[in-house]
Symmetry: C2
Subunit: 143 residues, 2 copies
DNA sequence: GGCTAAATGCAACACTATTGCAATTAGCTA
DNA sequence: TAGCTAATTGCAATAGTGTTGCATTTAGCC
């Protein structure tokens, strides 16, 4: 919720500005990754102009506070929708409709850590992005 | 090995050109992800000029044949060092020295598929990149 | 309402990636 | 081995993405 994010921003000493509210609103209402220019376009279509530099800076800030994430497979940004798991970043992306779902699982992290340790690697951070079909698209696809 | 990659290229009807050999040599001899411009710079330092467009096209080709991979967390490219696992792309990246190691594990894929299925998601492709410390750097770090 | 640090907008720039086309070349054939 | 031709490369132009410094504006505080 936008209001929650604003509260977190302010709790960390950041201002609740018009541009920040607008970006948060856009992220809040879409379930697909959006580039900075996507966000600018959506807002422009509503008659709300933001400079792209401002959008970059806002997205940086939101990511630094874990209020948004950059999805690496597409380069777009999504709102954070989980109480964040330290050192873990996981998404499922539907390759048909583009919908994205954040998830987390301690068990998966442990399996991965152990697997890596067996190869002599000490894991600090897990990135994992699955692509496939969301339940809605999978159902459609079946008949 | 560069020679193997060249053979695969030719088997698919692609020519074994000087630029392709040069890019393959560079990828072969480094264990870190390299951007197209990194590759151009390395070659230029050896007195071998390639246009950046050519490098982009070669990397596209190599990726399409699974002879190289794009590492999403850094945007760089590495040679493929595994018999490729269908629909699975995994790397461990050392955050100290930048070394990268490709890996794969059927068990991990199955765990992930199952986890996703429980959330109604049908997984087609797994991307996972761990960052942490390679065994060498981890040892150094300890004392 | 005024003050001030923080945030935004702007302009310029740097870097990354793509396109169309002319020139070159690898691999085939004679 | 020389010539042929499709594939590949280089080049120029352009588009897209991301960054910086600085003047202006604004949120939050008194
Ligand atoms: Mn999150
Ligand atoms: Mn591979
Ligand atoms: Zn879908
Ligand atoms: Zn290392």
């Amino acid at each position: 919720m936008v209001r929650d994010s604003i509260r977190i921003l302010q709790a960390q000493g950041h201002k609740a500005t018009r541009p920040r509210k607008l970006v948060l609103e856009v992220l809040e209402e879409t379930e697909k990754p959006l580039s900075p220019y996507d966000i600018q376009g959506i807002l422009r279509a509503r008659g709300k102009y933001l400079n792209h530099v401002t959008i970059y800076r806002i997205l940086d800030l939101l990511c630094s506070l874990n209020l948004a994430h950059k999805v690496l497979s597409s380069g777009g940004f999504v709102k954070c929708s989980l109480d964040d798991i330290e050192g873990c970043h996981r998404f499922m992306v539907c390759q048909h409709c583009g919908a994205i779902q954040e998830f987390a699982d301690k068990g998966l992290c442990q399996e991965e850590n152990e697997f890596a340790r067996n190869l002599g690697f000490h894991t600090e951070y897990h990135l994992s992005e699955f692509s496939g079909l969301c339940s809605r698209c999978y159902r459609k696809w079946l008949h």
